[in-house]
């Protein structure tokens, strides 16, 4: 197993740059196959005599890690293929460094998922944070990117600190940090809850949970697109992995219902917040970053629901919502990587990240446009693609919530599911905006006419990810058995053969209850489309004439600039959710000689939470500087006083 990881890291020093990314793609494929095989195997553990003396690294490959390794392999295969083409233009020294960091990043993500003791976990976690920090700041000559990297690093470390404390609590005074020991440590409910909260904070910082999401919309636009794809598609999932590992594996059997309710509520807030902000963005990558926040929210809703069901020993239902969560992580890895890569191609071809300056690219970049269309439909949660399946499963789990023996929860659950549906429906709005403005319509700038389609490697990467979206959408009956291993491991039950009693239909629990068949969907729609196409031509005709657009009778005056801009498209959202946003408007009246219109939308949390926090920290550190005068006798006095205090205290 480790050989695979080693190969990824080892290849990076190879000089033949052109071979590096394809070979890392190959390694990812290998990882994919191995983890697929590992799912049906018994748990594999390995102790490596590395690290500090007396503290060997424990590795363990169980069903949960295998599933997330599968996700890593599948997504990084696409991204590495794409990167093989993408980084041709980069200068040599930067590229070599980039290669090293890229593969270090992949390897440390794999190690996070394999780690079986807190030391190795945190070491891998930190190296993942650091390597991704360097990847984000690849273009470190631009001040904004340095700032984005700094915010990212800061929040990543806050999270890591919380995780450190969390593991400290988990070991329960034994001093043994292997996960096997942590599993057996019996914590009081207070300490268990503290550990859970710390884990939620620590992993939430990595995943972009409210209110720790601020780094996401900064770091994603700053990073090169394949890096954004990996960070959003895979790295956020390591946080989900960690949360699952701690709550369901290490803290097994001691989850009060409040945890579930907290995770659920926080998830819903994050999802709604993310999608509302995604709707008003006009930078492609920021839009996708906010949409990642939304998806993390959905994943957390799934985890919360699983926790609730698990608390009340409704294991089959817990398995259902956990399967939905895992399915959605896999889906998100595929479609979000696909979208980020597509955006990367657009960025390469046009040099433009602003939605308001793009348009009509479906004519210039058909490969990118059609593969991204698949990703767009998938992320919008539309059948028969993959996003729909996980959301459908999650809603099915919600529909079972009346079985919870807690009356308030039962009453709140339908409203929670409605909030989830609102987020999903808004996501469709966001994606229509994204795709419609970037790829459809007329080019808003003249330079877009020179845009060139993606190269062969990029097409391969995009194609793999798009095919993954289609496969996950059309063949859920083949995916559910994979998830069953994980659900059986974590919550002790699985959807089992019921979900796949007939390979055509997906029936989560009972056929009378609900079923869904994506292949059937596609079959009926495709055959009706074909039939209509020929029937219309047979009964009538297929005549066609090209002309100017009609546009209600004003075709001469039509200009590309009359199309909706990104801001225009999101105006209804801005108006409906106005209290959500902090808006600065500059709207001079008509009599102003040279009017300038400006609208700036800011994250409310910056103002409410982060600014006061920054001011407080500034004041605190200002107070501390007062202690430092640089005079040696004062410092001697401090040491003397400390010594004295210690003596009194120890005695």
């Amino acid at each position: 197993m480790l050989g695979v990881v080693g190969a990824i890291a080892g290849k990076s020093t190879s000089w033949i740059q052109r071979l590096v990314f394809p070979s890392s793609a190959l390694t990812s494929l290998l990882l994919l196959v191995i983890s697929l095989l590992a799912l049906s195997q018994p748990v594999d553990t390995l102790v490596l005599p590395l690290g500090l003396p007396g503290l060997p690294f424990h590795l363990r490959l169980d069903d949960l890690s295998a599933f997330f390794l599968l996700l890593l392999g599948a997504a990084s295969l696409g991204v590495s293929l794409y990167s093989a083409g993408y980084f041709r233009a980069m200068e040599n020294a930067t590229r070599r460094l980039f290669c090293l960091e890229y593969h270090l990043f992949l390897a440390s993500m794999a190690l996070v998922m394999l780690a079986d003791d807190a030391y190795l976990f945190l070491v891998a976690w930190e190296s993942m944070a650091l390597s991704s920090y360097f990847l984000v700041t690849t273009d470190h000559k631009i001040p904004d990117i340095r700032r984005a990297g700094f915010i990212y690093l800061l929040i990543a470390h806050l999270g890591a600190l919380a995780l450190l404390l969390c593991f400290g609590i988990l070991q329960g005074g034994h001093g043994d940090y292997a996960f096997a020991a942590l599993r057996n440590a019996h914590l009081s409910s207070f300490w268990a809850t503290t550990a859970f909260l710390l884990a939620l904070f620590g992993f939430g910082a990595k995943a972009g949970l409210l209110p720790l999401h601020v780094w996401l919309p900064e770091a994603h636009p700053a990073a090169p697109s394949p890096v954004s794809a990996l960070m959003s598609g895979v790295m956020l999932k390591t946080a989900i992995y960690g949360l699952l590992r701690i709550t369901f594996d290490l803290l097994r059997g001691q989850q009060p219902w409040e945890w579930g309710a907290l995770a659920l509520g926080l998830g819903l807030l994050t999802a709604l917040f993310g999608v509302a902000y995604a709707a008003v963005q006009s930078d492609m990558k920021r839009l996708l970053a906010y949409s990642s926040i939304e998806n993390i929210g959905i994943l957390l809703v799934g985890i919360g629901l699983t926790l609730l069901f698990h608390t009340y020993r409704l294991n089959l239902l817990a398995a259902l919502s956990l399967a939905a969560t895992l399915y959605h992580s896999l889906n998100h890895a595929f479609f979000k990587s696909l979208l980020f890569l597509g955006v990367g191609s657009v960025l390469h071809a046009t040099g433009e990240r602003n939605l308001g300056k793009l348009g009509g690219l479906i004519h210039r970049m058909p490969w990118v446009a059609w593969t991204v269309l698949i990703g767009t439909l998938a992320i919008a949660g539309l059948p028969p693609l993959n996003g729909f399946i996980s959301e459908w499963l999650l809603l099915q789990a919600f529909l079972f919530s009346p079985r919870l023996p807690h009356p308030y929860l039962v009453m709140m659950m339908p409203v929670a599911s409605a909030a989830l549906v609102l987020a999903v429906a808004l996501a469709a709005y966001v994606m229509v905006k994204f795709y419609g403005i970037v790829f459809l319509g007329q080019p808003r700038e003249t330079k877009l006419a020179q845009a060139r389609d993606a190269g062969i490697w990029e097409r391969l990467g995009l194609g793999w990810l798009a095919a993954g979206c289609l496969f996950l959408g059309l063949a859920p009956a083949l995916v559910i058995p994979i998830l069953d291993y994980v659900t059986r491991f974590l919550v002790g039950d699985a959807l089992g053969s019921m979900a796949t009693h007939n390979w055509l239909f997906l029936t989560p629990v009972l056929p009378e209850r609900a079923s869904y068949s994506p292949l059937f969907f596609l079959g009926v729609i495709a055959s009706v489309v074909a039939l209509t196409f020929f029937a219309v031509r047979r009964m009538y005709h297929g005549r066609l004439r090209y002309s100017d657009p009609w546009d209600c009778g004003y075709p001469e005056t039509i200009q590309p600039r009359m199309q909706d801009t990104a801001e225009g498209f999101s105006q209804p959202i801005l108006r409906i959710f106005e209290p959500f946003f902090h808006i600065e408007r500059e709207q001079p009246d008509a009599s102003t000689p040279r009017p300038r219109y400006r609208e700036k939308i800011e994250d409310r949390l910056w103002r409410l939470l982060y600014r006061p926090l920054i001011r407080f920290t500034d004041r605190l550190s200002g107070g501390i500087t007062r202690l430092q005068h640089g005079r040696i006798h004062l410092y001697l006095l401090y040491s003397f006083l400390t010594l004295l205090a210690l003596l009194i205290f120890v005695r």
Partner: protein, 316 residues
């Protein structure tokens, strides 16, 4: 299940829904004309219009992409699928396990997103205006719609339409107060989703107030015909869905051929009544401003939640 007569019956049912759909719209328009003291063009008028449109030559904008040309067919195909899923005449047909009510909402969303994208394809101001308004109405309507289905699934323990219809039709005597709230909410969602008054005005000629029509401005001839026809099917499917959820009496079991004539009669009667009711409703109300639509659909949502609460109070 999956025997040939059943499949045949399934095909007959979906063909029937698809061919009768323009008639329902014609009937609504005719009723409205009568209510407004006009003579009306007769209930067959939508067929004549479709026939006329199919005869015409397609005029396409120079830079329309393949997506633009695909969208009408895809919309038509997905509406056909939706029509096949809803139990109109009989339950437990071979296609019914393919999707439950949530997947049905997914089908509608799929066709809507395609149409919205197609509307943005030509790059006119009205197209994207229509697209964003349509998406706005839909994202407000979907939570309310889900709450309605939540109501139905609480009683029947299923989201499978066949099971819902069978449960509800066997409990005719047992009154469910929650379903009354749900019915009101569903009606409001139906009006919003099908671009009817008071959310949208299907007969408008003023581009600035259009929602659904603004998206189809660039379409002509057979493309427009397919889109119009799909909209008719959508209205029909929603109406039959409402009938299946709230008035499921008379729907036959699969394979029970003797019940079919009765089912057809019951369906025609209910559709006639529903059409007249819709016409009355549209005559009595005026179109709302666009930004009143959130309030309208918020009311629908609250009604459905009230339904849920009455259900929970009743059982506790």
């Amino acid at each position: 299940m999956n025997t040939w007569p059943d499949t045949l019956f399934q095909l007959i049912q979906s063909v029937l829904v698809v061919t009768l759909a323009p008639l329902l719209l014609g009937w609504i328009n005719q009723c409205r004309a009568w209510l407004q003291n006009r003579r009306g063009a007769g209930p067959l008028q939508p067929y004549r219009e479709l026939h006329k449109l199919f005869h015409k030559e397609v005029v396409l904008a120079h830079h329309a992409s393949a997506l633009f040309r695909m969208a009408p067919y895809i919309r038509f195909g997905s509406m056909w699928l939706a029509a096949a899923i809803v139990p109109v005449l009989a339950t437990d047909l071979p296609f019914s396990p393919a999707a439950d009510v949530i997947a049905l909402v997914g089908v509608f969303a799929f066709s809507r997103v395609f149409l919205a994208l197609a509307a943005m394809d030509v790059g006119t101001a009205f197209g994207s205006l229509g697209a964003r308004r349509e998406m706005l109405v839909s994202f407000l309507a979907e939570p309310a719609l889900l709450m309605v289905f939540f109501n139905a699934s609480l009683i029947s323990h299923s989201t499978q339409l066949t099971t819902i219809v069978e449960t509800l039709s066997h409990h005719t005597l047992m009154l469910h107060p929650s379903m009354a709230f749900a019915a009101a909410a569903f009606l409001m969602v139906l009006l919003a989703e099908n671009a009817r008054i008071p959310v949208d005005n299907p007969a408008t000629h003023l581009e600035l107030t259009m929602i659904h029509e603004a998206m189809t401005l660039e379409y002509s001839a057979r493309h427009l015909a397919l889109i119009e026809w799909s909209s008719h099917i959508k209205l029909m499917t929603y109406t039959t869905l409402g009938i299946a959820l709230f008035a499921p009496w008379g729907i036959a079991q699969a394979g029970d051929w003797r019940a079919v004539p009765l089912a057809v009669a019951a369906l025609l009667f209910k559709l006639g009544l529903a059409g007249a009711g819709l016409a009355l409703l549209e005559t009595l109300s005026a179109k709302l401003r666009l930004f009143r639509a959130p309030e309208f659909l918020g009311t629908a949502f609250l009604l459905a939640v009230l339904g849920l609460l009455t259900y929970f109070l009743r059982i506790s």
